[in-house]
Symmetry: C2
Subunit: 130 residues, 2 copies
Amino acid sequence: MSYKFDESQPIYLQLIEIFKTYIANGAWKAGEKIESVRNLALDFAVNPNTVQRALVELENIGLAYSQRTTGRFITQNQEKINNLKHEMAENKTRDFVIQMQAIDIEQREILDLVQRCLDSEEITNQQENH
Amino acid sequence: MSYKFDESQPIYLQLIEIFKTYIANGAWKAGEKIESVRNLALDFAVNPNTVQRALVELENIGLAYSQRTTGRFITQNQEKINNLKHEMAENKTRDFVIQMQAIDIEQREILDLVQRCLDSEEITNQQENH
DNA sequence: ATCATTGTATTAAGTGATTAATACAATAAT
DNA sequence: ATTATTGTATTAATCACTTAATACAATGAT
């Protein structure tokens, strides 16, 4: 696995975002057991304490739960996962729009840029499928 | 002025982003003198050293220059400012699209979310104009 | 000429994130 | 029963960011 972290932000915050992304996109499914703290630490090449800190946050927001010696699991509440996905999507969209308006990009231009970016990504994906 | 900083990221990096935004949206115009390090530090309620660090970075990327005791100025190269704006817009768009695809949002849904967000922002702006 | 303001530099201290090295308790596997 | 693995907790050390308190040199304003 491995991962390139952004040096400008604490790793545990980036891990939270990564784990939430895994849950939102279905890589980690409802009720599924996730890797142990120690294995995740090996995968991401960070200290187990740093992984632990991120996972505790996942529990605090109800996305995971741990059984002392059995392991850690994703919430079995599928609706909670659906909500997570929708909230992440809306938050990211709002942040994006606010940032674009802050640098004085017009509405039509914002939509055009997104459309153009999606088109170029699509071509990339097609190439990868060959 | 004042500002609420994100605790998850170094302030000097956030200042760089803020200053670049000022240049991109025209709040700080080409050739214009900008406030002194000490005044900016007061405005943003941070240490002068932190402002200095951000401004040095602005110089390193050619967006500003300083005259030892006269003050600091925005680049007089308007094209460089135009390029900054375009690059910021494209980078933010690419980051946004990649993040949305990471949480498995379809292309049409991405565009719909942006459109819906723009619509709601527009209503807000209209209300503010009364 | 004098003084205030400018960018710049230096040193020290404090804070938070991270790593490191352990240790403990509970359960599953053997 | 024994062993390995699990989440969890603790303590110390390191590093980067930030603040703080200065100081210096050059220029504009008076």
